[in-house]
Amino acid sequence: MSLVTVGIADLKVSKDPEDTLVTYSLGSCIGLAVYDPVVKVGGLLHYMLPDSSINKEKATTHPAMFANKGIPLLFKQCYSMGADKKRLIIKVAGASQIMDNAGAFNIGKRNYAILRKIFWKNNVQIAGEDIGGNSNRTMYLEIGDGKINLKISKKGIIEL
């Protein structure tokens, strides 16, 4: 088995059954895993921000930083490796927030809202998610069988 790290503002796709894609330190960021169980192709995205309109240049150089650029790119890269939209299993984790009653530190919420909006427009269903709260998450996607594990602060490891 080889562990392939998906950095912050980064995405990776693979069809090597020996690979496990992993992304660490999901706070307000979102980890999005997609997997086609027939061709056994999977991808993992770790984006930080909802929308790239704040910086046109970085939208091009760092697409995986933004939901609106990173999500389409993740799907496209999986398609190019043989994945089919209809078969894709989609799971989401992250969008945590610090303790803040006024909700001023709400990038996590906005990161999640835009994902729902993009999926709704494109008729994409989420098969599983672990969202919000005060936890810090690490997300693993095993390419061999599409299994997704989450390592959550205070809770340990759960399968999503």
Partner: protein, 286 residues
């Protein structure tokens, strides 16, 4: 001995903050610092000299020829790079010890320290806040140093702290105080005192969860460290067992006129700067 007394002993036993680094910081605080004077301070420490030359000759700078003199390297790197290198080098040794109590991974505290320091620099530049760069970087980098000491003592009380945090009513720091009678910020202040840091830095470390309690003259510094900590935790950089159970200082956002869009811009600038800093400091960004 009471727990607090044991911790005071542990604080006394902490290795000193490197003198060479402290003296170099003082020299660098003067915008017209003398290169020769700085070289004299640095050259007595072989490890630091080697690190400066190593950084200067790294692929990151891609210089056409090898730099072999310390003086040349000091001139080339400039005050900002030198400051970051020296402080990060000293702080990494303190933070990178394996921490059974507080960090999920051995290097989590260190990544969080660096992220907070980078966030503070970005915030300062973004809002053009007039504050000494050295002081801000140092205070932000060391704000959680109390956790290094505390983590050796919390093992048996840790479950209680965790339960309080899980109830959702207490932040990690509030739970520490409830269970232990003190918190990591207070202990951090004591460590900074032992290291003979200036009052401003001691205050900012001790009150990084409650900047409103700091003396008025150090208020801006304390607030910047508190907010940078909030933002670094929010993004997910190097939090340990405490996760995101940290109380947000929304009023400070209002004060600096940071609404949704500005926060997104800050996070973007932070991430770009953090990637650079990790490369220079030789830290794994992920």
């Amino acid at each position: 001995m009471s727990l607090m007394e044991e911790i005071i002993v542990a604080v006394d036993d902490m290795p000193p903050f490197p003198q060479v680094v402290q003296r170099a910081m003082q020299a660098l605080a003067d915008p017209e610092y003398e290169v020769v004077g700085l070289v004299d301070i640095l050259k007595v420490d072989q490890a630091i000299t080697a690190n400066i030359l190593k950084l200067c000759n790294s692929a990151y700078f891609g210089l056409p020829r090898k730099v072999s003199s310390l003086k040349e390297a000091v001139v080339y790197l400039g005050a900002n790079q030198l400051r970051q290198l020296l402080l990060s080098g000293a702080a990494s040794k303190i933070f990178e010890k394996p921490n059974a109590g507080y960090a999920v991974f051995a290097d989590e505290l260190w990544r969080h320290a660096l992220a907070t320091a980078v966030m503070a620099q970005v915030l300062r530049q973004y809002r053009r806040i007039k504050i000494d760069e050295n002081t801000l970087f140092t205070a932000a980098l060391l704000h959680d140093v109390g956790k290094v000491v505390l983590s050796n003592f919390v093992a048996d009380k840790y479950r209680d702290i965790e339960n309080m945090v899980e109830s959702g009513k207490s932040s990690f720091q509030e739970a520490e105080r409830e269970v232990l009678g003190f918190d990591h910020a207070e202990i951090g202040g004591k460590i900074a005192e032992k290291w003979e840091f200036p009052e401003s830095i001691i205050t900012a470390i001790a009150f990084h969860h409650e900047p409103g309690r700091s003396a008025r003259e150090f208020r801006v510094l304390s607030e910047l460290v508190a907010l940078s900590n909030n933002l670094a935790v929010m993004v997910g950089y190097g939090t340990g067992v405490d996760g995101l159970a940290c109380r947000g200082h929304g009023l400070l956002l209002e004060k600096l006129k940071i609404a949704d869009r500005e926060m997104e811009e800050l996070v973007l600038l932070f991430q770009l700067e953090m990637a650079k800093t990790c490369e220079v400091a030789g830290v794994d960004e992920d």
